[in-house]
């Protein structure tokens, strides 16, 4: 007689990994989400949706260090916040509208960038709209392609490219203004 008994046993490490990672980052993610949405329930939804995304591609994310994972999950949480706000029609890209009104299509003067301008650049980052900041972080911090960014945020690659170009142009204009005030 042949006696065969099949069973699947999880290693303790495998079983705890996803829940353990969640415990390490849950409040940080929630804080980021709450700042974006200003709504407790929506922030919880964003955290849940972010970890749902992580689970779908966990082989990729499990290879990251704790710090790199924190970087990635924060960006994902911000994206989920944008999705939720758009769904509730609470999101309006005011900066985008304002930029189009002010733009006169005059080419930006070329200037030499110094360390002081670099610090000013960082300071003015907060004046970019949320969507543009997300696009820039996904491109420069996560190294995502325009296609990948577009798929994550529901845009075409062309739209992503336009966002980046406009963000750069806006930053350059802000720097010009600052330099002209200094004389």
């Amino acid at each position: 007689m042949l006696f065969i008994y099949l069973s699947m046993l999880d290693t303790e490490e495998e079983r705890l990994k996803m829940a353990d990672i969640y415990e390490q980052h849950k409040f940080a993610c929630f804080r980021v989400a709450l700042k974006r949405t200003n709504n407790h329930a929506m922030a919880e939804d964003a955290v849940h949706n972010a970890f749902l995304s992580i689970i779908k591609h966990k082989e990729k994310y499990f290879q990251l260090s704790c710090r790199d994972f924190r970087s990635a999950i924060v960006i994902i949480v911000k994206n989920k916040c944008l999705d939720l706000l758009k769904a509730e029609k609470r999101f309006t890209d005011f900066d985008e509208v304002a930029y189009e009104i002010e733009s006169d299509d005059t080419p930006v003067d070329i200037q030499t960038i110094t360390q002081i301008e670099f610090e000013n650049l960082k300071k003015h980052m907060s004046e970019l709209d949320d969507v543009s900041k997300e696009v820039l972080e996904m491109k420069y911090t996560l190294g995502m392609s325009y296609k990948e960014i577009g798929e994550a945020l529901g845009m075409t690659p062309k739209h992503v490219d336009t966002r980046i170009m406009r963000a750069k142009a806006k930053m350059r204009k802000l720097l010009e203004k600052e330099m002209s005030y200094r004389g």
Partner: protein, 230 residues
């Protein structure tokens, strides 16, 4: 490279670095989880939702690992399992019984045969989880067998059947891969169709009953339903 292009290149490099540094600065400004735990709390609804998310992921992982090592081809497998029935605290009519189940795998079908000498309490079984859109379509019951058909608007069906463990049940094993998963002390016998849109079957026994699910839905979905049956 002229000055204009040099400035463009320089601006691009510094802009890129500014974005990256700004991002990491924002991350570094986030307090520790211990400090944040004093300020923020999650609702019970959220905690339960996250618990189910990880539990579901764990089950799917288990199933996926099982199929990576699955066996193919027809073989004669004899499985003997003992099932001890616990005496239910509120039902004095239930008597403990030991059931021996013999699973014999032949070329074209698999036969589950059992011997049981005691009576068991009548129970109604149903899944607590069903995929979105599925509802009870039809119910058919005889003296000891109950069949419930669930269907959705697209016409997909799930057949759920249960009966006291007694006698023989045969399952067509042509064109299927056989595996078994043990979870919470219950052995789920899984007959997964090799081709798409063919019927998957899961059979398991608990508390003196033999239950089975049949559907063309993916086997991991069927397993979720089987696991949820109470």
């Amino acid at each position: 490279m002229d000055n204009a292009k040099l400035d463009d290149v320089l601006f691009e490099a510094i802009f890129r670095q500014a974005v990256i540094e700004n991002h990491w600065q924002e991350l570094d400004e986030i307090p520790s989880e211990e400090e944040l735990a004093k300020v923020y709390t999650f609702s019970e609804l959220h905690n339960e939702r996250m618990r189910k998310l990880f539990a579901s992921d764990e089950r799917k992982e288990r199933l996926a690992r099982l199929y990576r090592g699955s066996r193919k081809g027809a073989a004669i497998i004899l499985i003997t399992s003992g099932i001890l029935f616990a005496i239910l605290m509120t039902t004095p009519s239930v008597q403990a019984a030991v059931t021996e189940v013999f699973v014999e795998w032949y070329e074209q079908f698999t036969k589950f045969t059992s011997r049981q000498g005691e009576t068991i309490e009548a129970k109604a079984w149903s899944p607590s989880y069903l995929p979105d859109g599925f509802e009870v379509f039809d119910t058919f019951a005889t003296f000891d067998m109950t069949n419930i058909r669930y269907a959705d608007m697209t016409g997909q069906v799930i057949d759920f059947e249960y009966m006291p463990i007694d006698g023989t049940l045969s399952v067509n094993n042509e064109g299927v891969e056989y595996n078994s998963v043990v979870s919470d002390g219950i052995t789920f016998h899984i007959f997964a169709a090799i081709s798409d849109n063919e019927t998957n079957t899961i059979i398991w026994e608990v508390d003196g009953y033999r239950l089975n699910l049949r559907s063309v839905l993916p086997v991991d979905v069927l397993y979720e339903i089987a696991y949820s049956v109470k």
